[in-house]
Each structure stands twice: as structure tokens, then as C-alpha cells.
């Protein structure tokens, strides 16, 4: 067993420990005192340089580990190879498209797809990429050209740092169909009918995505402030957007009017 320095969240504080990494488990010494067998891991997520490991023995537990990239990479590989998840061998491209731009020369990597409770992992000797299911924007069976031939693939679009990123999975069609059904089932809670917003609401959402602020949207769609507010409320209620800033409109009081009048007079003098 190798020991590496890491930080682990314990009683809502980060503590520095010597994390033990074995072939079949990790060992978290004092003060955490915990051993986690990889085969008991039911979910693995990554946020920046933190791994969130959910395991289930008699009860379910969560461990958060921070360490250097190299250590996290080893941990991810070991856990994803043995954890309790849907797993299949496949070729993948991740990312294949970022922000609508084809990644030039992105290779098909041989590896595996591991679907855990909250995400899809693309794992190869060189790469471990996680697509959180809650960030998956679309999952579809489609065709792309591979070695000059149209070939069935699964295309997974997800949102990363405000951009739509597409990853592609290639494997035998029977397996592809099973994976597709599994992914559709795992993400069905996020599917929408498409008619939750009316035409103007959809245009507002598109303009927000394009980077327009409220003032520009009101001008472009020629809608009053109150109507835009009501559309924003619908977008927020549907969890399609979040408030990032609240701007205020003010008018001057009598004191304020006197102040700017005086200021103007003094400028004239």
C-alpha cells in the first residue's frame, strides 16, 4: 500500500492525512479512521481538485478528498475500474465539440464508459473525464463518419463553463442501444416537453444565452420591463436560469434634484 498526502473533509473541516492507496481499497487514518473498498463505491464525482466518493456498506457514506492531480488520477482509475457501476468497453471522443467548434484531430480513445449515480465517466489510460448527469443537455443516437463510413454513435451534450460540450461514444450497435437506454433512463428527470415557455419566453432564454442584458432584451423584443420580469420568473421557476445580479432603477428626490441643479450652476460659473 502506498501512502500519499491528501486533505479529507472530516466534521466539516479539511484535515491533512497520509492517505493509504491499496489495490482494492483506500485507507483513511486517524482522525477519520475509515477504509473504503472500491467495490463498495456507488458514486464518484469531481469538483475542481476534489473527489467526492460515495460508498455503501451497511449505511451510505461520503468522503471528500483533495490532493494533487497525480494522486487524484490514480484514485479515479482504481475506483472506476472496480466500483459498483454500469461499465462497458468503448471508444470515445471527449470533448469532440466545444462551444459548437469541432475539436480538430480529436482522436477516438480506447477505454471504457462508466456510468455512476450522478455522472458518466470516460476512462482511458490517459484520461478520466466526468460528465455530471445534471449537466447533460442532450443524449442522442446519431451517425458520424468513422474511417469514411457512416457509423452509429451516442452523442452526449453537456454544459461546461457555460459552453455546450459534446462527447461521442462508439461501440457495437447492440451495446450502444443498451447504453443509450440506460442514459436516457438515468436522465429522464431532466427531460422537458419543450412547451414550458411560450415563443417569447424561448426568445428571451435564447437572448440570455447570447449574453444580452435585461435592457437589451427589452429593446430587442420590444416588451415592457414587467413582462420581462414575469418571463424571468417562469424561467427561474423552471430552473432554466439563475439570478446572477439584481440591478436597481432610481429616481432623484427633491434633495437630489437640488444637488444636480447646483452642480450644473457651478459648472456654468
Amino acid at each position: 500500500m502506498k501512502e500519499v498526502p491528501a486533505k479529507v473533509e472530516h466534521n466539516k473541516a479539511w484535515v491533512v492525512i497520509k492517505l493509504g492507496i491499496a489495490e482494492d481499497r483506500i485507507v483513511l487514518p486517524d482522525p477519520v479512521n475509515q477504509e473504503i473498498l472500491y467495490k463498495t463505491v456507488v458514486d464518484l464525482a469531481e469538483r475542481k481538485n476534489t473527489l467526492i466518493i460515495t460508498f455503501k456498506t451497511q449505511a451510505e457514506g461520503v468522503v471528500k478528498v483533495k490532493s494533487v492531480d497525480k494522486v487524484l488520477e490514480i484514485l479515479k482509475k482504481l475506483i472506476l475500474n472496480s466500483c459498483n457501476a454500469y461499465r462497458l468497453a468503448a471508444y470515445f471522443k471527449s470533448p469532440a465539440i466545444r462551444g459548437g467548434v469541432l475539436i480538430q484531430g480529436a482522436p477516438w480513445e480506447k477505454g471504457s464508459i462508466v456510468v455512476v449515480r450522478t455522472g458518466i465517466w470516460f476512462v482511458s489510460p490517459a484520461k478520466q473525464v466526468c460528465v455530471p448527469l445534471m449537466d447533460a443537455a442532450a443524449i442522442e443516437l446519431t451517425k458520424t463518419e468513422v474511417q469514411g463510413k457512416p457509423t452509429d454513435i451516442i452523442c452526449i451534450d453537456h454544459v461546461d463553463a457555460g459552453e455546450v460540450v459534446s462527447s461521442q461514444v462508439l461501440c457495437p450497435i447492440s451495446t450502444l442501444q443498451v447504453l443509450f437506454n440506460f442514459l436516457k433512463d438515468a436522465t429522464k428527470g431532466m427531460d422537458m416537453k419543450g412547451n414550458e415557455l411560450d415563443a417569447v419566453g424561448q426568445q428571451v432564454a435564447m437572448l440570455v444565452y447570447s449574453g444580452m442584458d435585461s435592457h437589451a432584451i427589452e429593446n430587442m423584443l420590444n416588451i415592457p420591463h414587467k413582462e420581462l420580469d414575469a418571463i424571468y420568473d417562469r424561467i427561474l421557476n423552471l430552473q432554466l436560469g439563475e439570478v446572477v445580479a439584481v440591478r436597481r432603477e432610481i429616481q432623484l428626490t427633491t434633495k437630489g434634484v437640488r444637488y444636480i441643479s447646483d452642480a450644473t450652476k457651478s459648472q456654468v460659473k
Partner: protein
């Protein structure tokens, strides 16, 4: 900064692009709602750059691109595609498009692509 012809069959998309391009300091010298109109406007206005929707009535964007390239092999045409239309993008690039932008539009990406294509 360039003189730009916007081609799209939806008024909303044309207005959106117009706003984005105007905010980047470009001049919109014309708009067209289908491929046939785009070719006519290109002859008439000689823009520095055309933003061309792919799916349009009468004449689609690829056909319009071919006609414009036949008129002016140096024409700068940027295709507007939807996410997932990568085959269409490849076909457009083969046909002579200088670049592409993806719907829904993100202003910085549109301006960056237009700037890159105008520099060619």
C-alpha cells in the same frame, strides 16, 4: 470592422445577429430571408462577409454558398448551424465556407469568428 450581409429565414435570428455584430462595431449592409435573396443581395451589395443560415426555404444555405462562391471565389461566408450539424459544417467547409458559428449564438464567439474570417 466589416460590412456584413445577414442571411436567415427568421427575423428573430437576423435581429439577434444584427445586435451582436453591431455591438462589435460592424456595419450591417443588408439582410436576406432565403438563399435566392442572399445571392441577389450579394451581387448588389458586395459585402465583406456573409453570415449564412443553413436551413432556409427556396434555396438552402449550402446552395446559396455555392452560387456566391461561383460569383466571387474570394467571398467570405460564415455558416450558421445548429448544435449537432457537424456533417453540414464539414460539407460547408468543403464547399468554401470560411468559418461557422453555432446556434444558439454566444456573442463573444460570433464576434471572434467574424473577426478571424475578416482577417483572412
Amino acid at each position: 470592422m466589416g460590412k456584413i450581409l445577414i442571411v436567415d429565414d427568421t427575423l428573430f435570428m437576423r435581429t439577434l445577429l444584427k445586435n451582436i455584430l453591431f455591438s462589435g462595431g460592424h456595419t450591417i449592409i443588408g439582410e436576406a430571408g432565403d438563399g435566392t435573396e442572399a445571392v441577389e443581395k450579394y451581387k448588389e451589395l458586395k459585402p465583406d462577409l456573409v453570415t449564412m443560415d443553413v436551413v432556409m426555404p427556396k434555396m438552402n444555405g449550402i446552395e446559396a454558398l455555392k452560387s456566391i462562391k461561383a460569383l466571387d471565389p474570394a467571398a467570405r461566408v460564415v455558416m450558421c448551424t445548429a448544435v449537432g450539424q457537424e456533417q453540414m459544417v464539414k460539407l460547408a467547409i468543403k464547399t468554401g465556407a470560411k468559418g461557422y458559428i453555432v446556434k444558439p449564438f454566444q456573442a463573444p464567439k460570433v464576434l471572434e469568428e467574424v473577426k478571424n474570417v475578416l482577417a483572412t
